[in-house]
Symmetry: C2
Amino acid sequence: MLASLEPWLHPVLIVLALLAIGFAILNFGAVKRILIGRPMRTRELYAKHTKLLWYVALPVLAADLYSSVAYGPEAGMTELAGLGDSAKWLILPITAATVSLLVILITSYIMGIMAYPDGGGAYAIAKDNFRRPWASLVAASALLVDYVLTVAVSVSAGIQAVSSAYPQVIPYETTLSILCILIILLVNLRGVAESASIFAWPTILFMISMMTLIFAGFVNEAHQGFHQAVTPPLGVLPAGLTLLLALKAFSSASSALTGIETISNSVPVFREPHQKNAIKAYIGLGVITGITLLGFAWHLYVQGISVNPNNTMLSQLAGLYFGHGVVYQVIIWSTFIVLILAANSTFTGFPQLAALVAADGFLPRALTIRGDRLGYSNGMLVLAALASLLIEVFHAETNALIPLYAIGVFLSFTVAQAGLVRRWLRLRQGIWPVKLAINAVGVGVTALVAIIFAVTKFTDGAWIVIVVLPLLVALSAAVHRHYEQIGRELAIDLAEERPETHSVISIVLVSGVHRVVLNTLSFAQSIHTNVIAVYVGFDEESIERMKKQWEAWGSPCKLYTLKSEYRSLLRPLSLFIGTLERIEGGPDRVHVIVPQFIPRRWWHNALHNQTALLIRLWLMRNRDVVVTTVPYHLHQ
Amino acid sequence: MLASLEPWLHPVLIVLALLAIGFAILNFGAVKRILIGRPMRTRELYAKHTKLLWYVALPVLAADLYSSVAYGPEAGMTELAGLGDSAKWLILPITAATVSLLVILITSYIMGIMAYPDGGGAYAIAKDNFRRPWASLVAASALLVDYVLTVAVSVSAGIQAVSSAYPQVIPYETTLSILCILIILLVNLRGVAESASIFAWPTILFMISMMTLIFAGFVNEAHQGFHQAVTPPLGVLPAGLTLLLALKAFSSASSALTGIETISNSVPVFREPHQKNAIKAYIGLGVITGITLLGFAWHLYVQGISVNPNNTMLSQLAGLYFGHGVVYQVIIWSTFIVLILAANSTFTGFPQLAALVAADGFLPRALTIRGDRLGYSNGMLVLAALASLLIEVFHAETNALIPLYAIGVFLSFTVAQAGLVRRWLRLRQGIWPVKLAINAVGVGVTALVAIIFAVTKFTDGAWIVIVVLPLLVALSAAVHRHYEQIGRELAIDLAEERPETHSVISIVLVSGVHRVVLNTLSFAQSIHTNVIAVYVGFDEESIERMKKQWEAWGSPCKLYTLKSEYRSLLRPLSLFIGTLERIEGGPDRVHVIVPQFIPRRWWHNALHNQTALLIRLWLMRNRDVVVTTVPYHLHQ
């Protein structure tokens, strides 16, 4: 019976639950206190954090980039899977190209750090070097889109790592992915952990795992040779390989480089000298990532590993070398944790960037509000909701999400590099021609990769991003225009414009003669305006009854009765107000006083027609009248 | 990509869309006008309707009962399907028992009509004859639950009739069923059609179809004998048949009798003499239904038709006699339409009963409000939402819904009959012993059927109803208690209690010095209370800036500045109000004036923090302060 509730309903319910929980924890005191913790004072934000040594900062900031090796090479090979075994050797040139790109990007980023010691990602660089805002908006929109994809891809890949080891998890991948996002969201709403360095350990463990795997591969090859029975032939171009397909595979593989911008955004967390230490960390991370990519690709080639949607290549290789024992489990779970950490760090990046853009007036101001725990809660909620939606739509399939991914990253790389090029041209200091050359190469390469990505993946899903991005930029511009126009409209001349006294007529809406009306009339008579009572009846009988009761009550003020033939309060009331406003020598302002029942328990509201609320909403929107609500708190 | 949105999302989206559309049509003028039509005046409700001749009223009111023959016999045989072919002959005794029950029920209902010429279903009869409200609440709750099931069962069975003819429809049964409910809802929100008699034709067509089918069966048997090769052996008790199983089959089959109460609820629509004509219609409908059930069952037996979840027994039999040509199509589509009509008439029954119960104070009063087209729109929305939910949970499988069905009907039958028994015992007029005897038998039989149903179907889903019913009764009682207590609390002594004038302090919340604040202060100074301005700042800087601006503006009134360390307006404001309330000789009432931005387009709201709204909501709930909202309509 009820157990027959379709299993597919679960992810949907979870998405809905996520939003409901998000809303609940931010709006209901008790739940919020338990899940999020006590509110924090603004000044706690500025409490000094310990600065990190470069080799401590390296693993702390490495998760974003380094975790991408878990899905990048596999994403590349998935594109070539249709060509059969003869295409397997192509993993070597593709990985070599990816590592070259890694070197170019890191060099370019080091230039960025030298120019902007306070961090400042693509948005800040673009804002500083382009006069018109569109360049920085493109960079920001591209990054925001990509942050959402980072969460979706990292979490999906993490769950896929687990389901490679435990195939019984496969049917629940979507549900579990969304659950992970929910947990990450909660952790982030609670706020930053006291010490960021605990985040270093899983990444270190994953790095060691990967190095062990690569080492084990060489040990194996030392015994069994570099060309084994399963090793595919080298250098033969497989039938069906086109330039487009090769570029497609390369662009998918280059998703292994996403997350490379993290260190450049976090220069201030390094110990003095900031810049020098950050550059050290960049070089260190680049070397480790490069070695990992090349070593991993080499062994995949030697062992002739095939793409299998239910068992990642990393899991296959680890299973081959270590069986399915403890070492295998360590590799799987450290992969999972590092991917979740990458998603987790995006929950800092996205809200911060959104707040920065919102503070400049290009996104809704609500994104700049710090929550109880000083994080930008609204940005976190938006990120979690969008990433969950993507996971739901793409069934948590990493390789289905990859075509949407990385365009944004490479686009924002391009804008940032172009900004640096303009900067060097403008400043012309020191060894500027060298810096210029490096960043010019950076612009060219990253723009090329972005274009390759957009063209080769267009029909696979890249079109979604290509459609969304300009919309986001246009929307940001429209938001900015709106805020500016309102700013102009609201400005007043302090010397000339002062408050003026108006003549006010107060209309008290009465529904009978009872305690709520008594309470409301008492207030109305206390504010010394011209007070009249208005009763709207649906039939003659009720109007007559009301008139008699009013007289019996000694007519506390003049009562007007209106008949509503359509059983609506709003229409006759609105006509009545219109008439008042048109009376010559009438009031300057109409003031409607509405009694409102406040039941003792919130669910009692279902038993009372929310007439007062509806009237207020309608009047506020449709007429220029002041509305006062006089509460009557029910004891029952 | 996006096309991979899972197909199962469709029904969920449709349920959500249903609620969204329901909300939209009732709240957005333009959409509402198109879908629902112009609002109607209350007096149009009392426009005279033509009274119907009994043989016209019969098909108009027959759809509810007569449509049940489409699923009743099949529901019975589904229970026995596990016993194999040797159980097929049991359809004869089961149908005979069902028809006997039909005779008893109709006789009992005729007694009801004689006692209550104005109609008045089980709820009215129980209310009139039992002093305590619980009996009538049981009857009402049981009927409301069953109305929801009528819609779910009828629509599912209608769609199943169609998918028997067009198997390609099978995967979309749930979606289509919910779509049907949406359409029925819209039609009903538009209101009653001018002439009810157009509803007679599909039912007449279906009756003729069934009669043709039965006649064709006898023609076939006249040629090929009453015992054909496929005819199962008669009279052998199949292995595995238990009393419980036989009772279960009987109780499922008796779902063919649901809808029998319709005529007794509609006595006033008959031409004079109401009662006599209604009784004629009852007898006529009983005879036709009895013949149909017996004839249909007989041919099912002779042809040895088996239960097939993808092809109804009716469709199988029709296919056998007529092939899949025009006659078959007429049978299928008239079945579909008549089942939809049965669901449609429930959209009158449920809201009317709910309004009746709500008017007595046992359900939320919102159910008594007539919509623009004079129907009880809220009741219709509730019915559509609950029926859609049931269809979604049970995948539109008629036979999965049957165990929940009919308990309610038989329970309310029992209460109504018991009410009549009490009535005859009380009045003791005319041939009361005969009437008493008839209704006493009615009580016994309907109570027995209800118990059989509850016991035999308990684990199949009947438990849901058995749990829901007492909850509904308890809830109704609680609602009543709430309304009564509030009535007592709000009553005042007209002679003694009069409005009193208080001293009021008005707090104007200011966020800076701009046009919105100017507008708000102008109003505040017009109402002749003690006005002060309050500014809540998040840091010292902004507070200093505000103080300077206020001075530069010539300090229109005293300004208090509050610092919020937790970046929340509510906490410092609430503390400030608390302090004001405790000042000795302070104001009797605190009055907070909040400026509110009204953007020109509703979606601009996303760009403005709804601070005013939140403050109002929080203050209303948590403190006894009057809140005034002064709108500022943005031009931009």
